[in-house]
């Protein structure tokens, strides 16, 4: 520790120029990782949209207006209104709250469960601890995910929290597997041997030495899963077992729109879908970008 402090002192002289250098570095980072930056911008924009919904949205999201039923897009309702007279644009903005919250909390919960379990399974790879965990994960993953989700949401009820728990349960095996695979090979590495050699116990070895070197692949995966979570949430709501109307949610909105589609009322389902695509695309781009960032073969002029 003290050594680092001293180095910081030494580098203080360099601090003067560091600010200018930082902005240059930022520009270079953007030009070198356009995919990551584009994804991050989209994701952050949607998060902000949800956060600032009361300010941005022109209409309240859940107020039925019988004077404005099924209006086509117009300057007053830029994305039109649905069959209850609710403003589609405003609802899309409010829906970002739910869908993004679901996505992020699913990722957080499934990582918190999956990562340490994966590390333990990997470290004890080949033993009974590992086999039990893997068989359980196998069963979860062999289960038809969507049907399981529909079933469990139907049992638990249709609160947002229930949706989160179910999707997190479906997603945690992916982290467990990733981390397990990495730890499985890392535990045989020379640095693991070296760490044992200087007197590290198993716990310290797993969580101080192996895990920090094995979590890289979970970042792209988590971003990917955030996208899946949105798709799954919307899918559940679309068939009517997810988030209940009139709570604004993209999938539920598409469902409502689809019931009136044959009369030519396309906007009620079209725009929420677009918003969803942007959200999921954002997460997927972040995932791609993160993967590229760690890919040593990616080189260009």
């Amino acid at each position: 520790m003290s050594v680092e402090v001293k180095a910081a002192d030494q580098s203080q002289a360099a601090h003067v120029t560091s600010r200018a250098r930082k902005s240059v570095t930022a520009l270079m980072f953007i030009s070198a990782n356009p995919v990551l930056v584009a994804g991050a911008v989209a994701t952050i924009a949607l998060l902000l949209m949800g956060l600032l919904a009361p300010i941005i949205a022109p209409y309240p999201p859940e107020t039925v207006d019988f004077n404005a039923i099924s209006l086509a897009p117009s300057p007053t309702h830029i994305f039109g209104t649905d069959s209850y007279g609710m403003d589609v644009f405003s609802r899309i903005i409010y829906a970002a709250r739910i869908d993004m919250v679901v996505a992020l909390s699913v990722v957080a919960i499934s990582i918190i469960i999956g990562t340490p379990l994966g590390a333990i399974a990997g470290f004890f790879g080949g033993t009974i601890i590992d086999s039990v965990m893997m068989r359980f994960v196998d069963a979860v993953q062999a289960f038809p995910a969507f049907i399981l989700a529909v079933m469990t949401v139907a049992i638990l009820g249709q609160r947002v929290l229930d949706v989160v728990i179910v999707i997190a349960f479906l997603h945690f095996p992916s982290y467990l597997r990733l981390v397990r695979a990495k730890v499985l090979s890392a535990r045989k590495s020379q640095y693991a041997d070296a760490a044992r050699c200087i007197g590290n116990g198993n716990l310290r070895l797993i969580f101080r030495h192996l895990l920090p070197n094995c979590i890289d692949p979970i970042f792209p995966q988590s971003s990917l899963n955030a996208g899946y979570a949105i798709l799954l949430t919307a899918g559940l709501s679309f068939i009517g077992v997810g988030v209940r109307p009139p709570t604004p949610e993209w999938g539920a909105m598409i469902n409502l729109g689809s019931q009136h589609m044959l009369t030519g009322e396309w906007w009620t389902s079209f725009f929420p879908g677009l918003a969803m695509i942007i959200a999921v695309l954002g997460f997927n781009l972040v995932s791609d970008g993160l993967q590229d960032l760690h890919d040593p073969t990616r080189r260009r002029r």
Partner: protein, 332 residues
């Protein structure tokens, strides 16, 4: 200092009852301040011996006596208390360092785990060991990928030396380095030994390096020691046909030296189905029918200070042409 008695390590083969016998009845001693070179080709089990010594893999049977304690049967907890005095330097400098830890953190960790020194004492020791391996304080904050291969290995050595061990296993510490860097690392290791009196087990397939650093040499073939003796004697007169073939294959970097390769026929037998007699019998140019009957014991041979596991060691000694003296001048 350290005494190995009849060490055996078998690896089970998945899905069958057979085992691979990586180390087969190996015994040797290393004295204080001494370097024993352990040479052999891949599959000879030399690295496994090193791993067993540190209990990085559990020996199947045998004893490892270190200052009177048997490491082989020591419970994990007492073993951890002994860790600071018996250390290891690994083969791949980059792979043996935790990529997420700075050089300073890596070198300091054994001191933290030892729980003997205060923070300031640790820092003093850190700088001391840093000087010892000729690194500079600015290297402390660097991560492995920012260091050259040579510097990485210096960090590995510093980590091993931090707790002032009495015995260090050097597992091919220079084989992945450029020949030029290799020489400097070897010099460094020699210097540290002269300063601190540490003992080394130097595991290597590189005979010129072994010759340069070791006091005594043990030659392994298929999990067994086939010959052991002082460096001088081994490189001068070989009692075992395998040692002879091995030494004759070394390409001495001197265009005036002549190659007298003594080839061994065929390839190393599979370690799963080991032959009943001498393991070299199928490849040996001096083979007799009796060689396939029994396994020759490692024994001293009259007229030589070395011990060899060959029925015909005496004959080989008398016919020893001792052509191979690549480096007699610097042998210690």
């Amino acid at each position: 200092m350290l005494k190995l008695e009849h060490l055996v390590k078998e690896f089970p083969i998945r899905g069958s009852k057979a085992v691979v016998c990586a180390v087969n009845d190996v015994s040797f001693e290393v004295g204080p301040g001494e370097t024993l070179g352990l040479v052999g080709e891949s599959g000879s089990g030399k690295t496994t011996v090193g791993l067993c010594l540190l209990r990085l893999t559990e020996p199947t049977s045998g004893a490892i006596r270190f200052r009177g304690t048997d490491l082989a049967t020591l419970p994990k907890k007492s073993l951890r208390a002994l860790r600071p005095s018996i250390q290891m330097v690994f083969q791949e400098p980059f792979l043996s360092l935790n990529p997420r830890k700075s050089a300073g953190a890596t070198i300091e960790e054994p001191l933290i785990l030892q729980r003997k020194l205060s923070r300031t004492e640790r820092r003093d020791r850190l700088l001391e060991v840093l000087r010892q391996v000729r690194l500079k304080p600015e290297h402390l904050n660097m991560y492995p990928h920012q260091l050259t291969a040579g510097q990485q290995q210096c960090v590995g050595i510093a980590r091993a030396m931090a707790t002032k061990p009495d015995f260090v296993v050097l597992d091919e510490p220079t084989s992945s380095l450029d020949p030029s860097v290799r020489a400097e690392i070897i010099d460094l290791l020699r210097e540290i030994q002269l300063d601190t009196g540490v003992s080394y087990l130097f595991i290597s397939h590189d005979l010129t390096t072994v010759q340069y650093i070791s006091h005594r040499v043990a030659v392994m073939y298929l999990g067994r020691i086939v010959e052991i003796g002082t460096t001088h004697e081994i490189f001068k007169r070989q009692l075992h046909p395998y040692t002879r073939a091995l030494l004759s294959s070394v390409l001495v970097p001197d265009p005036t030296s002549k190659l007298h390769m003594i080839p061994l026929e065929g390839e190393i037998p599979s370690p799963i189905n080991l032959p009943s007699g001498c393991y070299l019998a199928s490849r040996c140019p001096h083979v007799l029918p009796s060689c396939t009957q029994a396994i020759p014991e490692l024994r001293t041979v009259d007229g030589s200070t070395s011990a060899a596991a060959c029925f015909r060691a005496e004959e080989l000694l008398s016919t020893s042409d001792s052509e191979f003296v690549p480096d007699a001048g610097s042998s210690r």
